[in-house]
């Protein structure tokens, strides 16, 4: 990819407030048109990172580029981006049409063109009928759409979104996720999206960065970060994982045999004999069978029926193992609490984690 196509670049950016180091040495490249999510628990520095790009905070170290231009010392109003705020931040004294036209007015777009583009933007979010209403006369979902129209109408180099769906109820949020994603695809606007909702991040993103305590732990496509988590934090924050510890007893040709204490597992891993390893296995990748089918022996401790899936909690020599079974047939429902079972997984389902 040519360097010119990077719309947002953070280069070793750090930010400290008085005593807190909110963002630590973060480097990110977002190519044109990509939907990029920052995902992490509360207080991990997502908003701060976004505000650094927006120019509302100034980095303690590092450099920020938008469309190749160094903006580290540029005030917010001279940076080529627009933003949707968590609580929408619509101007209460302006109508919807005026709200949407605000950015165009700041860019000195002449009146008639401004009105036309504002109208089109409102139509784009399916709100053309509400142009003359004031923000307080609209529902949360409608306000959200106007905020989106207001941000998109200026055709920014990058769209910044700080938990824009956080204030909506679950159903509406899921609708808006799809709508936002469609719109983003259609317009091809480079997007930096902040959320603490892992499902939202998986649903919407081209690429996800998982943040923890101001540090980006892993960046990758949704599937990559879900299936190949690099750290225990990523594996447990994004979905659910079973963790196992063991020591390598034999290693050859990129595979390692690990002693788990209750059995032996073979991993795709280049290690040395004697090395301690920790690895994760997703609950939906664990197979469950009768003792006779082979695998690690365990006992069913709890069964939770969840509609699409059934969650089965196993006790394996004091270790808890979770198994998700699809309710495709009634097989999953055949198990009973107390049953002796055997579980196993395909070799590539086990992901060895970095020692952190």
């Amino acid at each position: 990819m040519a360097a010119g196509e990077i719309d947002v670049r953070l280069e070793n950016v750090s930010k400290s407030f008085d005593r807190v180091e909110a963002v630590k040495d973060v480097s990110v490249d977002i190519p044109r048109g990509q939907f990029f999510s920052l995902l992490g628990p509360s207080g991990c520095g997502k908003t701060t990172t976004l505000r650094l790009v927006a120019g509302f905070e100034h980095p303690s170290a590092g450099a920020i580029y938008i469309r190749g231009a160094a903006v580290t010392r540029v005030p917010p109003y001279r940076r080529d981006y627009s933003m949707v705020f968590q609580n929408f931040a619509l101007f209460p004294h302006l109508t919807m049409a005026e709200n949407v036209a605000f950015g165009l007015r700041m860019r000195r777009v002449p009146g008639p063109e401004r009105a036309r583009r504002a109208r089109e933007a409102l139509a784009m979010v399916k709100l053309e009928g509400l142009a003359e209403r004031y923000p307080r006369q609209l529902s949360g979902g409608q306000q959200q759409r106007v905020a989106l129209a207001r941000a998109l109408v200026v055709q920014p180099a990058v769209l910044l979104l700080d938990e824009p769906l956080g204030a909506l109820d679950k159903k509406l949020r899921e609708e808006m996720q799809v709508e936002l994603r469609e719109l983003q695809h259609r317009l091809g606007t480079t997007t930096l999206f902040v959320t603490h909702d892992q499902e939202e991040a998986l649903t919407m993103s081209d690429r996800i960065a998982i943040m923890r305590d101001g540090v980006i732990e892993q960046i990758g496509q949704p599937r990559e970060v879900y299936e190949r988590p690099r750290t225990e934090f990523v594996a447990s924050f994004l979905g659910v994982s079973n963790f196992f510890d063991g020591r390598i007893t034999a290693a050859a040709n990129g595979s390692a045999t690990v002693d788990l204490g209750f059995g032996q597992a073979v991993l795709s891993h280049r290690g040395t004999v004697g090395e301690a390893v920790r690895f994760a296995v997703r609950p939906e990748k664990v197979r469950l069978g009768q003792i006779s089918t082979g695998g690690f022996a365990a006992q069913v401790r709890e069964i939770v029926y969840r509609g699409v899936t059934t969650h089965i909690y196993l006790d394996c020599h004091g270790n808890e193992v979770i198994v998700f079974l699809q309710n495709a047939s009634s097989d999953a429902l055949a198990w009973r609490i107390g049953d002796a079972v055997a579980f196993s997984w395909e070799r590539d389902s086990a992901v060895v984690l970095d020692r952190g």
Partner: protein
């Protein structure tokens, strides 16, 4: 029991109101008196003292001068107060509290000392006249305007300013297109308050007025020292009270407006 408590409460409230408003009511009633001297209740009603007030050159010119001083100092005080309040809301914790006390300090400073201090200060830098009085009233009015503007800024959603900036508005346009249109009731209330304070101010004016530039309170004060035509003072006071009531009601409305605007 509840009824008795109620009656007691209302009686106390009534007495308090009477104590506060009584003297003012007496003055207002007396200003419509037809009598030559102060008698209460007035023997008959007339507007003669108002006519006399408007015929007395020194009174009308003092009235107009007070209006000018009030308006000018209120505008200056409000502009300064708004700048100060904008700065203060951006601070956090201790700094914010410290600055707030600093900007409202003139409120608790005895006006008579301020008057004397300013008089001495103006002497040394060879300054004075109407400008000196206006400057003094700016100092006196600013804390009031500051409080009101600060209150409206504190309930103002700061994210709106960031939203404006994110859409390309610089500080100037952000303030005039977003902040001011939302907080204007507070700013205008602050200005009116500063005006009222200046309009009725006597202590500092005593030191800083002079021949040819007397405010209405000074003129009234002067009248008190001479016998005769004393009820003209009552008329002047009634006019002053009427003006303050109108302004106070306006402020009341504006503060209500500000509250509605927030939602």
């Amino acid at each position: 029991m509840i009824r008795l408590g109620h009656i007691l409460q209302n009686t106390i409230a009534g007495i308090a109101f009477l104590l506060i408003l009584g003297p003012t009511i007496v003055v207002v009633l007396v200003s419509f008196s037809s009598a030559e001297t102060f008698t209460f209740p007035p023997p008959g009603l007339s507007l003669r003292w108002f006519v006399e007030f408007f015929q007395a050159d020194n009174m009308t010119s003092a009235f107009l001068f007070s209006m000018r001083v009030g308006a000018t100092s209120a505008v200056c005080a409000t502009v300064l107060a708004t700048l100060a309040a904008r700065f203060v809301v951006r601070q956090r914790g201790v700094t914010s509290g410290l600055l707030q006390s600093l900007f409202t300090a003139p409120l608790v400073f005895p006006a008579i000392i301020l008057g004397l201090a300013l008089l001495l200060f103006y002497r040394t830098i060879n300054f004075g006249g109407p400008g000196g009085l206006i400057l003094a009233h700016v100092l006196i009015g600013m804390p009031y305007a500051f409080r009101l503007v600060l209150a409206s800024l504190q309930s103002f959603n700061q994210t709106l300013e960031e939203a404006a900036q994110s859409l390309g508005a610089g500080p100037f346009r952000t303030f005039f297109l977003v902040t001011l249109p939302i907080i204007w009731p507070g700013v205008l209330s602050g200005g009116l308050f500063a005006f009222i304070v200046s309009f009725g101010e006597l202590n500092v004016a005593l030191f800083l007025t002079g021949p040819g530039y007397n405010t209405l309170p000074i003129e009234i004060f002067g009248y008190l020292q001479f016998p005769g035509r004393q009820l003209i003072i009552a008329a002047a006071s009634t006019l002053q009270v009427a003006m303050i009531i109108v302004l106070a009601l306006t402020i009341e409305r504006l503060v209500g407006l500000a509250r509605i605007g927030k939602s």
